[in-house]
């Protein structure tokens, strides 16, 4: 079985550069343990939600980017970050939501893509390539790798996923939509 992963996107490279420039590696490592409540194999870093950490004079400033406008998991993500910071003895912090630039599935880390597939969710195609294309073009089954798949619904169990079925191995699976 061969599952192909797209190369790290330019959007991800930019996030990585931001992380490396922020010079608080221990806080990044600490928050690496906070995961998406709906897809617990993905850390908020992998997902592209955790985007900046700065130390100002008074407090630690953590910047997160909401995924979908109505994603009900955002509040849990925020609460989880705050809990981890508190448990580590950090009292002076602020978790700030940033709307611009808007989150894109292109922000997901390469590790996040492999974790998604291993978890049974097909990783999103690059978004720059997805505009105007039908959603169901050549999506690989995360179980057997076949591209003989069909979309059963454009909206799945959460806003970020569509429902697919593999024609080769018959497995129904989720596809993380490019957005």
């Amino acid at each position: 079985m061969v599952i192909e992963f797209p190369l790290p996107t330019a959007a991800y490279q930019a996030r990585l550069a931001q992380r490396q420039a922020s010079a608080l590696p221990e806080i990044w490592a600490l928050l690496e343990q906070v995961c998406d409540p709906e897809i617990p194999v993905l850390s908020l870093w992998d997902l592209g939600v955790l985007n900046d950490i700065e130390q100002t004079d008074e407090r630690l400033l953590v910047t997160i980017t909401p995924t979908y406008s109505g994603c009900p998991a955002m509040q849990t993500m925020r609460d989880d970050i705050e809990a981890v910071l508190r448990q580590s003895g950090i009292a002076a912090f602020e978790v700030r939501e940033s709307l611009s630039p808007a989150w894109s599935s292109d922000w997901i880390s390469p590790e996040g893509r492999s974790k998604l597939t291993a978890y049974g969710i097909a990783a999103p195609r690059a978004c720059t390539a997805c505009r105007g294309q039908p959603l169901d073009a050549e999506i690989q089954c995360p179980r057997c790798g076949s591209t003989e798949t069909r979309m059963t619904s454009e909206f799945g169990s959460t806003a970020c996923k569509a429902l697919f079925q593999c024609q080769a191995c018959l497995e129904p699976f989720d596809y993380f939509k490019p957005i």
């Binding site: 979908y68 406008s69 109505g70 994603c71 709307l99 611009s100 808007a102 989150w103 959603l135 909206f155």
Partner: protein, 250 residues
């Protein structure tokens, strides 16, 4: 100008919340499971949008109100949503045809709002555009399935179009506040979108072998707080818990 942007953001929040609530009424009532999920996902996108617009309005008001106060503590006359959003959900054809008209409108409106000189409005719009692309693809496909499907699906779709048509004109009306904001590069001149919207609607309806109504009756008043009786009923239900237990936290 700040008060005017506050008002504008509240209006856009009202449009999103009222439509999001209407869509949420399909929860566990849709024709089949996948549609149930799809409708609720779209409802969540709209309610999320409302939260962002109200959040911004609350920030501008600087009087201690939060997004919940905007959603739950205002009365019918204070809501300024366009009437098309508040009409009862009707049958599935009615819901999807309304989505088609509104999705097409948003696919033209949001890219303009994303160019607003107001950074927050622009950021909310830029985020919402991506979701609207998905919404539109779906409402477009459903329109084709109704139109080219059975006699009954065709009939129901046509009935929905005829019932909705008179409510679409209001989307392209600007009052003094909207004109001023459009002039200032903050708001959108939605009147200028009408020709393109009509062309796109007409192309889709033709593709679906459905008819675009000829008559030009129009119902208006939402932006001034004059609503159909449906909004009062919607607010009654939506606001009841919050009003019965003000300030309650889970």
């Amino acid at each position: 100008m700040k008060a005017k942007i506050l008002e504008y953001s509240t209006r856009l929040g009202d449009d999103s919340l009222v439509l999001g609530h209407r869509l949420s009424e399909w929860c566990s009532n849709a024709p089949f499971l996948e549609e149930d999920l799809a409708l609720i996902n779209v409802a969540l996108d709209y309610i999320g949008r409302a939260r962002m617009f109200y959040g911004y309005a609350a920030e501008l008001s600087a009087d201690g109100r939060n997004e919940d106060d905007f959603a739950f503590m205002r009365d019918q006359r204070e809501f300024s949503n366009l009437l098309i959003h508040e009409l009862p959900k009707g049958d599935f054809a009615f819901t999807m045809l309304r989505q088609l008209f509104i999705d097409l409108f948003n696919s033209l409106f949001l890219p303009r709002l994303a160019e607003s000189s107001d950074k927050t409005l622009a950021a909310i719009a830029a985020k919402a555009i991506k979701e609207t692309r998905y919404h539109l693809r779906r409402s477009h496909e459903w329109t084709l399935r109704f139109g080219l499907g059975t006699d009954e699906s065709r009939e129901r779709a046509q009935r929905a179009i005829d019932q909705l048509w008179g409510y679409t004109h209001e989307m392209f009306d600007l009052d003094a506040l909207e004109s001023e904001l459009a002039e200032a590069g903050i708001g959108v001149d939605s009147g200028a979108l009408k020709t393109e919207w009509e062309q796109q609607v007409s192309a889709i309806l033709t593709e679906a072998e459905l008819e675009q109504p000829g008559e030009q009756w129009a119902v208006k008043g939402g932006r001034e707080g004059y609503h159909t009786e449906n909004l009062g009923q919607l607010l009654n239900e939506m606001q009841s818990v919050h009003r019965a237990y003000p300030g309650l936290e889970w």
